[in-house]
Symmetry: C2
Subunit: 231 residues, 2 copies
């Protein structure tokens, strides 16, 4: 008996190998296309890059959110890991600023991921679980940095979301032409986060408003066409 | 003799009134479409909104740059005026921060203009002249604010460009859902600009690199189709 052909009890049956190959090609193509053009790239352009038909595309990924989740699962893992690394830093302020630099560098390295960090995908459960995990870690990171007196007391977790939106703006506008420009903006922002605060700030957006903004920014869901028989 | 039908010597002949009307409709439609969807909106969607054919559209505006220049001429005027107002402020630091808030508010009020401020349109001479005029004013504004000791000495004019890129990112990502969120990011950045500097900064991008970035971000030029006879 071939163990690869026979899953252990309770496991999903193995995907047909041509389907599996197509799925891998679609994910690899989407990674390249989203990384180059951002998340507004169309499902059709991903299918073209992968060399598969649009029906095959939609059979594997009935909605763009599912494709986004598959493509960025490992990036979101790395992002959540960066929070865990920062929490393990014995110097809370150093951990906090190191996390910011690492997370913004991930945005600069991948325009698609730059967008993912400023959006939310309610139906992509696994991706959102990792994001929530990262968010809870960030709240602890912020509390630790405030406790040392190095982080301004009025810093709000939503400021990290706004910072990622700002960084995405710089990264998208400068691109390959000035690939390190974002570092200067992030350094300025980190200096502004440092205590003592140099002045008051306008109120943070309410949590619900920011969530609506992140929903709004995400690419419109695409309804799957009727599947055909091609693979 | 009807003076409206006969231009004074040396003036361009008056536009036929239906053509004039179409031009006005196209500009109004483009203002609405770019303001809502940003500069990536297509020429076709502007023509649809204006209720004119695509050939009429291209006869008036053979390239997207020309349409952008016509739509944003008054916004760019207001932007250049904001620099002049800031230069007239007896308190150079107050003038400098007031200019930043005014210019970022212009971005927040118009997504299309948010993009215009981070791009360059070499063929749109009048628009670029106003931008250059504003830029020269900004350099004087920065020098004045540095002379008072309130603005950090390592502040570079390109930091204002990077700030507009960051602000465009926040404005585009938050939109109507959190319409004032950009104010908090801009307030943080202004605090980071204040002397004494809290640390060194990564080098500014070179002028040529930032210019390439602004060129790169601008919408791809569109070639005009053969004109037809409809107006």
């Amino acid at each position: 008996m071939n163990p690869a052909a026979q899953p252990p009890d309770g496991a999903a049956p193995p995907m047909r190998s041509d389907a599996e190959r197509n799925r891998g090609r679609i994910i690899a193509a989407a990674r390249a296309v989203f990384g180059r053009d951002g998340l507004n790239a169309s499902m059709a352009s991903v299918a073209r890059e992968a060399g598969v038909g649009i029906a095959t595309m939609f059979r594997h990924f009935p909605a763009k959110e599912e494709l986004v989740a598959a493509v960025f699962a490992d990036r979101m893992d790395a992002y959540a890991d960066a929070v865990a690394v920062a929490l393990a830093d014995p110097d809370p302020w150093h951990g906090f600023t190191g996390y910011i630099e690492a997370a913004c560098a991930m945005q600069a390295a991948d325009y698609g991921f730059a967008d993912v960090l400023t959006m939310t995908f309610p139906t992509a459960k696994a991706l959102e679980e990792r994001r929530n995990e990262a968010y809870e870690g960030m709240v602890r990171l912020i509390d630790r940095a405030k406790a040392t007196g190095r982080l301004r007391a009025d810093f709000d977790p939503s400021d990290l979301v706004l910072m990622h939106m700002a960084n995405a703006g710089v990264v998208n506008a400068t691109g390959d032409a000035a690939p390190d420009a974002w570092r200067r903006v992030v350094a300025l922002l980190i200096q502004s986060f440092e205590a003592p605060a140099r002045g008051t700030l306008p109120a943070s957006p309410e949590h619900a408003a920011l969530y609506r903004a992140m929903l709004r920014a995400s690419p419109a869901g695409i309804t799957a066409p009727e599947p055909d028989k091609s693979s």
